[in-house]
Symmetry: C2
Subunit: 200 residues, 2 copies
Amino acid sequence: MIGGMGRWEPDARGRLAHAATTLCLEHGYDKTTTADIAARAGLTERTFFRNFADKREALFAGSGVVEESLTASISAAPASASALTVISDAVEALCGELQSDAGGVRRRHELILSHSALRERNLAKYDGLVDSLTQLVRARGVPEVEARLAAELGMVGYRVAFDRWFAGADESLPTLFVETMEAIAGLYRGPDEGTSVSPG
Amino acid sequence: MIGGMGRWEPDARGRLAHAATTLCLEHGYDKTTTADIAARAGLTERTFFRNFADKREALFAGSGVVEESLTASISAAPASASALTVISDAVEALCGELQSDAGGVRRRHELILSHSALRERNLAKYDGLVDSLTQLVRARGVPEVEARLAAELGMVGYRVAFDRWFAGADESLPTLFVETMEAIAGLYRGPDEGTSVSPG
């Protein structure tokens, strides 16, 4: 191999993912090539294709981290907790991690909104997360439908909170998530029961 | 125009949509062309493109009917009904309409599951329905977040009920939908409150 570039590159995947996001934001998704991405990361195109099937996948490299975070939280949850509590707590922890990289998360989401191929991939990612969460909670002995519904509700809370956060709400992502889950619960209480957040 | 085919064709759109579904089920999505679809419907390819932007859109022609059904139900709902009730009732009515064409709905869904481009389009359709439902309920004076959450919950109930129905559950789609919405409500009740359906 020319130029002494080793076969193993420390965090090649992370560097490629970062370069992909940066270049797509600078030049647009359609105008960015895998060769550009590899060059920006100081790696070969061959290394790119050892790590990702295509350009689009490099932009969704973070999905694995999201699944790992949710999996770790759910496996650490007490056995007595309800499916909905387990999922809410896991998503809240994920929101905290995303908040600590707020600038990066925001930039990535701007990029996703810029292209229909990325928006569609993003919807498919949510759908995959519902499946993963369902299976993780199923493994705790929760019946199928209850597990799926708790997973769906957690993702609804996440998506609604994320959209509010991205649109410029003052609160942090974890706070917005907790508020949104509380607002969902509020839909199932009469107007006089319990404390109700004002979701307007 | 040769062959006396008039510019206006009675229900050309419906015939093309039906031919598209039939041919894609027979030969696969990739192997079906717009020319095949037009020929099967007894129409010209030109008429096809007056009605649909591409092959994929012809398979989603029913989306307009779904939106019309939901819009009609919501505009007929009493002003005093909550956002969640208005949406649940509208989706339940839609489920009834789909049940009355059970065979056609099932065939179409088999087709969607057969190709990733159709699955992605289907997810985008659900996302669009959430937006439409949100706007319809917003127009009744419901605050933004409450409207969006009620819309999201209605679509969660619909998707979960639909998957159970498609997987071969004995009950009808409207019954499964009502049961699923009840199971969501059950997640917000303690184990000793109210009657709980068994969602397992």
